[in-house]
Symmetry: C2
Subunit: 404 residues, 2 copies
DNA sequence: GACTGTTATTCTAAGTCGTGAAAGAAGGAG
DNA sequence: CTCCTTCTTTCACGACTTAGAATAACAGTC
């Protein structure tokens, strides 16, 4: 709640700022907190006192000051809270356990069937993996804050006024019917939060990656599918039903190649991995397999001068740059962050070309104001980002009861 | 400032909520304010008391209640504050004076030279018009809050940490060099705020038009140029340097017709008025002039079955729907609001077709969640929206000193 | 080892704020 | 005139932040 009109909400907000800052920085001083959070030293003392009592932060020795009382350092208390994050994909399910310093403590992977799995199979695998991890860490159970899910598709939060939360996953591209997340998983005594996988990855970048401390950014994830997170005013854009950021099916041209969503000319049908490799194959190329190896083979062929490969890469960069340029015009970001394995590959091989073309596609003003960067996390931090969902709950929520 | 950690800021925020609500509603009751602003009745009493003392709202008789004490009505005190708004265009300058009920009290128009004007000419006209209005209303001078400018181009706020505000207008399409707004106008003792004209129009829609009370919306303005305002979380998206929302030069296709911005395939080169009429002319049509009359002639021709005209309109709708659909996917709005004279014309003649195609272009989910609406204000409320800039200042700012 | 200078942190007192409960105000019905 | 009902305000309370005073914790220095 950004609202809240009482003095207690004031404290809640200030606690949130301080805690957020400590988690992001890992280790700080009271003076830094006062400056960063626009609080007086006295308030920082009070809030820090609360957080110490809550067990979320800890005192960490001290630094020498210029001749005076040493500066007390404070940092995250790693075992102060634990978070589960799950990367739910079509291929399988990964569940990870993090402490408050966001060190990964444990991980459990469940492979799906080779072919596409059904919601109930995935749900079972998820349930199973979560239970396994929880069973291995009984001593942490009491400080487990929640479970975040990064899901492959549109995650709508339609919790109306009518009580119970209603979160539904629409994974059209997997051919799933709409699924309530409660159907997917029943976690006893554990808060479950869900978000689209690309959004959780963007969240991870916002907290610990290339979008850290940036108020306006776009985080593009290029893999088989195309995902996007738009950060505006320091927050991820969600829209009415939190499906904002659906970028993969942006129509890049009237007509154009058919996309797996059924429409024509989608961005994904140009720069999605399958589309890229498909074009190469059509041009006579012979990709080994379909993943990272195939893509690097394409790059290698292009570097070796194979004209078909060069053309495919050039086209890919051109379309991507066009779409990114449009996005830059639309959102005027400070950073443009490209990730996903296809993104990584393109950034490694064609970064300058991409950057130049994005700037050219955008108008002069917004086009000159962003920095292009690579995602700091690769694909497997969907789970990390998902684990940040309960963290945000912990931070923005009211103070926990402290056993005095 | 959305931040602010002191108890006084709390009051500032609550005052802002209440005042905003009163201005939007025009007339309300205390109970309504308590409900809408999530405040207790006691707090509403206090805040309303402050606002009454400030002279911004007034008591307005009472409504009968079901057998009990009558409900006191309160409303905006029209003469509590005045605002100037200016619509600065290539054709000329219109300055308007509003009171707190946003009744227009006066208007001053200065035609530019028939050909494009220079910044200094426009600045002079602006200065002149503002002075004329101020001179006509000396008694309102003391309660004049500020002047808002709606400008034709990107308005960048680069007020860094280094003191003085730096607001620069980049009106590339007018062929202007970058202009400091201070160069454009020197207003003694009057706060001057500026924003892009399309954004001020969107602001007007947010306050009093089709986007009222909506947290997620897109407001598209179609005229000779194409403008856009994206409302996310109840606020207009601005991006790093407030140039977010540049939509007219979105590349709709690789290659494509050349746009006045120099690039190819811009949306504006398809659905801008000149482009539409140009295509009709190329197809053998004979538009009378170039404005509204020409466009209605095109629609009439299409209605009469002229195949060239039908084709032109169909193409226009198709491209526009594509672009809007992409935007819907990206922002997941609750409303899609179309305005501008070209927009009006298209909505009158091809609304159903446009709506169907936008929904088809968007994914199923976000595509089914918005309502398509017509702008409630036509072109001349750029000035109204501009006048809302100082209003926002008044609302979000601290309480005014009251001569006790 | 006492003392001083210096810086970081905490304590104290003062001033604000919002809220629930209780009191007050303003009409209508009997 | 009295009671009843319904809004509105007052009051007492607890909670908050903060400026400034006080204290803590060190390094030199005499």
């Amino acid at each position: 709640m950004a609202d809240g009109a009482t003095t207690r909400d004031l404290r809640t907000r200030n606690r949130a700022r301080v805690l957020r800052r400590v988690v992001v920085a890992g280790e700080t001083t009271r003076a830094d907190l006062a400056a960063q959070c626009h609080l007086s030293a006295a308030t920082v003392t009070n809030v820090v006192g609360d957080l110490l009592r809550e067990g979320l932060i800890e005192e960490r020795g001290s630094l020498p000051s210029d001749g005076g009382r040493p500066i007390g350092q404070i940092g995250v208390h790693p075992s102060g809270a634990y978070f589960l994050g799950a990367d739910v994909g079509e291929h399988g399910v990964a569940v990870e356990l993090f402490d408050l310093s966001f060190e990964r403590l444990d991980r459990e992977f469940r492979e799906g069937r080779t072919r596409e799995s059904t919601p109930s199979e995935i749900g079972e695998a998820l349930q199973d993996a979560v239970s396994a991890i929880r069973a291995r860490h009984p001593e942490r159970e009491s400080r487990l804050v929640g479970l975040g899910l990064g899901l492959p598709g549109i995650v709508e939060d339609i919790s109306g006024s009518h009580g119970g939360r209603e979160v539904v996953l629409y994974a059209q591209s997997l051919g799933w019917p709409p699924v309530h997340i409660d159907e997917l998983l029943r976690a006893d005594a554990l808060e479950v939060l869900a978000d689209n996988g690309a959004k959780t990855l963007a969240t991870a970048e916002m907290w610990f990656g290339a979008a850290r401390g940036v108020d306006h950014a776009i985080v593009a994830l290029l893999g088989r599918g195309i995902g996007l997170g738009v950060v505006s005013n320091g927050e991820l854009m969600r829209g009415l039903a939190s499906s904002a950021g659906e970028w993969g099916h942006t129509k890049v041209s009237v007509g154009g190649p058919r996309c797996r969503c059924g429409a024509q000319g989608c961005l994904e049908a140009y720069v999605g991995a399958d589309a890229i490799l498909g074009r190469w194959r059509d041009g006579g190329g012979e990709p080994p397999g379909s993943g990272w190896r195939a893509l690097t083979a394409l790059v290698a062929a292009a570097d070796a001068g194979a004209s078909a490969a060069v053309r495919v890469l050039d086209e890919t960069v051109e379309v991507l740059a066009l779409a990114l340029g449009n996005l830059v015009n639309l959102t005027n970001p400070e950073r443009v962050i490209v990730g996903g394995w296809v993104g990584l590959c393109l950034m490694q091989s064609r970064r300058a070309q991409l950057e130049a073309q994005v700037r050219a596609a955008a108008l002069e003003r917004p086009g000159g104001q962003f920095a292009l960067e690579l995602c700091r996390f690769e694909g497997d931090s969907v789970a990390l980002g998902a684990a940040l969902l309960p963290l945000q709950r912990l931070i923005d929520g009211p103070m926990a009861k402290v056993t005095a």
